[in-house]
Symmetry: C2
Subunit: 92 residues, 2 copies
Amino acid sequence: MRSGKEEQKLLKFTLDDGTGVDRVILSEIHMYYEPEELVGKTLLAITNLPPRPMMGIESCGMLISAVHHEEGEERLHLIMLDNHIPAGAKMY
Amino acid sequence: MRSGKEEQKLLKFTLDDGTGVDRVILSEIHMYYEPEELVGKTLLAITNLPPRPMMGIESCGMLISAVHHEEGEERLHLIMLDNHIPAGAKMY
């Protein structure tokens, strides 16, 4: 997802959400992460949202990040879970 | 919070939410954690909820856990964040 101005911001995730069917989520976090850093990580997502088309692809959910400011700059960290939490665990 | 049947389920958290004023949240997770295990951890909470009285104390928010089933049993893990995410970071 690296060509074009809009696309440069987006990362496309193909996720195991525990259902057996891959879930695709697009997220505007390429300023903060390279795709290689995120392979195999367990992330937190809101999945009960209607699919949203982004750059011609349906994004089926929203990844959750923690955002704060440090030295006048916005810092963003995807929320990453420990490996003992399996794909498909629910948030309560 | 250990006397009485209802109280045995509850843990009372006194949290730094980045505002400078402690935030108290009660959570029914004593079956899963002892208080000592949780000192100093960075947790995830929903804080834009009206305070809710529990056992005579106002609980000002809800801690977020991941829940799944393993060998027929419910497993619960509080979502714990890395130390590079400061108290008061916002979820997006």
